[in-house]
């Protein structure tokens, strides 16, 4: 309420959906930073990837007169109206993780998914200089951020790369199903040259993942088979170290959380912030994996 707002500012961080580890990291960053500046981080979002539900929540936050909102829009277009509505009420709105460039949002904090995807694509093309066949594993076929990553990824692949039929394969953000799909992909395409995961799901199940790749593990270690995955969570780092992935490309959700709070705080105090803040991308290979593992501990 109003009274609270006078004492302690409430900044809202609205993810695309609850229960996604990526946003959980952003929440951690948000809370740490909020504690530092004496504000409150209100982390709330739709239970499922649902743009209408996300809009409803933002409207509720406007009603609550929060001091600022940072949102990862499920849909860059449908979010426009509610962003405008918030600004009209004097509530600063910025976007994080995924942007809505045509909206009136004041700033964006994060790595653009498409450009992060492009980074992954570059790494993939680098690892397979002669091109080859590849498959894409994704979470949900309709998730905009994942589709952006895939689009960015493909934009860096030359004409000598060929996507197998049936790709992209969806695993519904389910690790178990992700492993199953990898088994199926490899059974169908034993000569496959590489796989791109638009998120780290199969690697969150390290033991099962290792088993699924057992026929190609040697090729993988020899560089004849390439795996590029999004995210840089600890189990993934360990797998990379064991040679079960070639490159990991990670965004920095924690930095997105801290950055969101900082910018909202500045804005609510009448300051200005840069239009776009790049939180950067981590590219992990066997060369630098140890330093990341050390940080993760």
């Amino acid at each position: 309420g109003h009274a609270q707002a006078a004492e302690k500012k409430v900044f809202a961080l609205v993810p695309k959906a609850l229960g996604v580890p990526f946003y959980a990291d952003a929440e951690t960053g948000c809370e740490a930073e909020a504690a530092k500046i004496g504000a409150t981080c209100l982390f709330t979002g739709p239970a499922q990837l649902d743009d209408a539900a996300q809009i409803s929540i933002i409207r509720d936050l406007i009603t609550r007169h929060v001091a600022g909102i940072s949102v990862a829009p499920n849909n860059p277009d449908s979010i426009k109206n509610v962003i405008a509505a918030a600004l009209k009420k004097g509530i600063p709105v910025i976007t994080f993780d995924s942007d809505s460039p045509t909206s009136k949002r004041i700033a964006f904090v994060g790595t653009n998914n498409e450009s992060a995807g492009a980074t992954a694509g570059e790494e993939f093309a680098k690892a397979l200089p002669n091109g080859g066949t590849y498959a894409v594993l994704t979470g949900g076929l309709s998730a905009q951020n994942l589709n952006d990553r895939i689009a960015g990824f493909k934009s860096k692949l030359g004409p000598n790369f060929k996507e197998v039929t049936g790709s992209p394969y969806a695993c519904d953000d389910d690790s178990n199903k992700g492993v199953q799909v990898i088994q199926d992909i490899l059974a169908k395409n034993p000569k496959l040259d590489g796989i791109f995961y638009s998120g780290g799901w199969p690697m969150f199940a390290p033991a099962a993942y290792a088993k699924a790749l057992k026929n190609r593990a040697a090729d993988l270690k020899a560089g004849k088979f390439v795996v590029v995955s999004f995210d840089t969570l600890t189990p993934q780092l360990k797998l990379l170290k064991e040679g079960l992935a070639t490159v990991l490309v990670g965004q920095r959700p924690y930095a997105m959380g801290t950055g969101s709070i900082d910018e909202l705080n500045t804005l609510s105090n009448g300051g200005t912030v840069p239009k776009i803040t790049d939180t950067g991308t981590d590219v992990v290979t066997s060369a630098n994996v140890d330093s990341f593992l050390a940080k993760a501990k």
């Binding site: 409430v10 990837l49 649902d50 743009d51 209408a52 609550r64 449908s78 109206n81 905009q144």
Partner: protein
């Protein structure tokens, strides 16, 4: 449901109200509203109520059809997916250059086709309603994906197109979706309580065999409710597209559960023959007020599912208590 009898058994208003099916949940709603007004100062503001009224309208419109299906003893799991499919197909058609009205009509016809399929499976092939509607739930969602191939569809109409008024506009300050919901509710309520068709639906749900032997066209009645349910899901999808000014394949995802929850909270019986529009209307409102209230109260987002679940059980419990279930054992 039954006609008034002037001459006998004229009960006092109070006792009639207490006897009514909806008392329990209206009471639950009132308690919620009072509680929220006290603990969340922003709750009882005109702006917030207007927001709420728009938000519950989407699920509300769909719940009207679901209630009719449930009254005949069925269930329609496909509403969420049909909602998504008609959202996506209307946008895609407009995107392809079709006029607003033809595009929407075509999208609704597609929805109706799904309803027809469900109805035919339930009647002619005598499948339990769970089966075909579970299948069309999967099929319609997949088709929405096929149409969009995962991308969102936008920019299909100029920004000032009157189409966007349907979901985004307001009349006399009331959001259009809400007005549409209320109008549809009034019509549905009249149809269910006053029309021959509505009465026959209750009979089908109450005792299908007797209804058949009473000369009712049971199959046709059942097919009709699945079509109505699908079309209303389609209407919700199109209004949502207009509101969001963009369409994405996972619109309406999982909404079948909200819709069924609203119907159940509203006192609709899953075994058929019981349910009123007033009830499901309140059911839809309760779900939204709850969601809205939890955010306004600043409840931990992760805990919200616990409250939603508890309210579902509680609302039904209050209803059971009103019916005096414990006495008739």
């Amino acid at each position: 449901m039954s006609g008034a009898t002037e001459d006998q058994g004229r009960r006092s208003f109070v006792s009639r109200a207490l006897r009514s099916r909806e008392t329990g949940i209206i009471l639950a709603l009132i308690i919620m509203v009072i509680g929220l007004s006290v603990f969340a100062p922003d709750f009882a503001t005109p702006d917030n109520f207007l927001n709420d009224s728009r938000n519950f309208s989407f699920v509300g419109i769909v719940v009207l059809g679901q209630a009719m299906v449930m009254i005949t003893g069925g269930i329609d799991l496909s509403v969420g997916s049909v909602w998504g499919l008609s959202a996506v197909s209307s946008a895609a058609l407009m995107n392809a250059g079709m006029g607003t009205i033809p595009a929407c009509v075509l999208a609704l016809l597609i929805a109706a086709a799904f309803g027809l399929f469900n109805g035919l499976c339930v009647t002619k092939l005598r499948m339990p309603p769970f089966v075909p509607t579970l299948a069309t739930m999967s099929i319609a969602r997949a088709l929405a994906l096929v149409i969009t191939r995962g991308h969102s569809i936008d920019g299909f109409r100029p920004d000032d197109s009157p189409f966007f008024n349907l979901g985004g506009g307001a009349i006399f300050g009331l959001p259009n979706p809400f007005i549409i919901f209320v109008v549809l509710s009034v019509i549905a309520s009249l149809v269910l309580s006053r029309s021959v068709y509505g009465r026959q639906l209750y009979a089908v749900g109450g005792n299908e065999r007797a209804a058949r032997l009473t000369g009712l066209e049971v199959d046709r009645l059942k097919i009709s409710v699945y079509v109505i349910s699908a079309v209303l899901a389609g209407v919700a999808g199109i209004i949502e597209v207009s509101y969001l000014s963009s369409a994405i394949s996972n619109q309406g995802l999982g909404k079948e559960l909200s819709v069924i929850a609203a119907a159940v909270i509203g006192g609709t019986n899953l075994t058929g023959g019981e349910g009123t529009i007033l009830g499901v209307f309140i059911g839809a409102v309760i779900l939204e007020v709850l969601r809205n209230g939890l955010v306004l109260l600043g409840t931990d987002a992760y805990w919200q599912g616990v409250f939603v679940g508890s309210v579902i059980v509680l609302a039904v419990f209050i209803d059971q208590v009103r019916k005096g279930f414990w006495r008739t054992r």
